[in-house]
Symmetry: C2
Subunit: 192 residues, 2 copies
DNA sequence: TCGATTGTCTAGCGGTGCTAGGATCGAATC
DNA sequence: GATTCGATCCTAGCACCGCTAGACAATCGA
């Protein structure tokens, strides 16, 4: 094990520490509290060290978003594979999605609300993001209905989930009726 | 016409100028560019003047949001009243909503993405916001379907529209297929 | 005309993201 | 083992942010 290898490993460790700390801080106190100074202090390095790993704060948000996308994809697949039949799968998918958004608000923001400098719905879209969409597509494609393109249906279904997630969390919708809303729009949107 | 009345009128004028300028600047260069300094410079007063009208930047965003809500409500009502039959009304509503979001991205952000310090879905919710929701409810209530609470249906429909609007504008959804998405989810969600 | 009040401005506080340039440390060479 | 030298890191500082205290000028009422 060469010295160089050890250094690379330590550098990678520190990068993970930065991302994990940013995420933790964001979940604890919101993204506004994630300043480069506070972040640097928490990882016990000076500010400029952050910039040797990331181009700026935006890229750090992007890294948290990618981490979140991978987790969300895994959660969605776990939930849908444990469900029997299309209806149960779609319901499980919707619940898991909203649950993820509620349990990890900062990560969800990093993925879909904030600017993490990531490309979406494009060729150069990072793999975790594509995969998260694929996870949605896997369960939603089968309930798109005849003559409806699975990707288009998935986009619409996803947008609805996203709308529910964000409006609920931002206090734009009365809290509490989430379950009813989910049932209603699963029932209507999906062809079962 | 007393001197005091003239002063009050001038003060109200200036307040409108602040809101209009903030909105204009936000639409031109994004809300990040709306700093208190730039805003003050544009209205040709010093920074502290802003604070004699509003508690802070947040309240200015809130004022823009209220203005936007009133406009959106008017646009929705104009569109739906010009349409014949429930189906045409709902489609017109959806198109108008998304069109408003696309044409006035900064205002839309002020209403639903940013923190304007406004209360939503509560007793003390400002009138324009309640009225915008009412405008949605008027056309959507009639297609909620039997046994489904109109308000609940409106919330779900609205959330879907909101999801489409935000994901599209943030580049999270491929642009261009908006019309197809609208047709699909109007067809599915509404009971026609 | 003079004091009080109102209105506005200048200047500055503590914070932000980000970076230039110097200090330090450790690895490789002689 | 001493010395060089490059990589690594930190101190200090930039321009900007939202917001406010306190000085100043204009206006009003007596």
């Amino acid at each position: 094990m060469s010295v160089q290898e050890r250094k690379q490993r330590e550098r990678a460790d520190r990068e993970r520490l930065i991302v994990a700390t940013a995420r933790e801080l964001a979940e604890q106190q919101g993204w506004d509290a994630v300043t480069t100074r506070r972040l640097a202090e928490r990882i016990e390095y000076s500010q400029p060290v952050l910039y040797s790993h990331f181009r700026g704060k935006r890229e750090i948000i992007g890294a948290v978003a990618l981490e979140g996308a991978a987790e969300m994809a895994a959660a969605l697949r776990a939930a849908t594979s444990a469900a029997d039949g299309p209806r149960a799968r779609v319901t499980a998918l919707a619940r898991t999605y909203l649950d993820f958004a509620e349990r990890n608000p900062a990560v969800y923001d990093a993925m879909f609300q904030l600017d993490g400098g990531l490309a979406f719905a494009r060729e150069e879209t990072p793999e975790p993001l594509k995969d998260a969409f694929a996870a949605l597509l896997e369960s939603l494609g089968e309930v798109a209905g005849d003559g409806v393109h699975p990707a288009l249906f998935t986009e619409v279904f996803w947008a609805s989930l996203h709308g529910l997630a964000t409006l609920t969390r931002a206090g734009r919708l009365p809290p509490g009726d989430t379950e009813q809303r989910v049932e209603l729009f699963v029932e209507r949107l999906a062809v079962l």
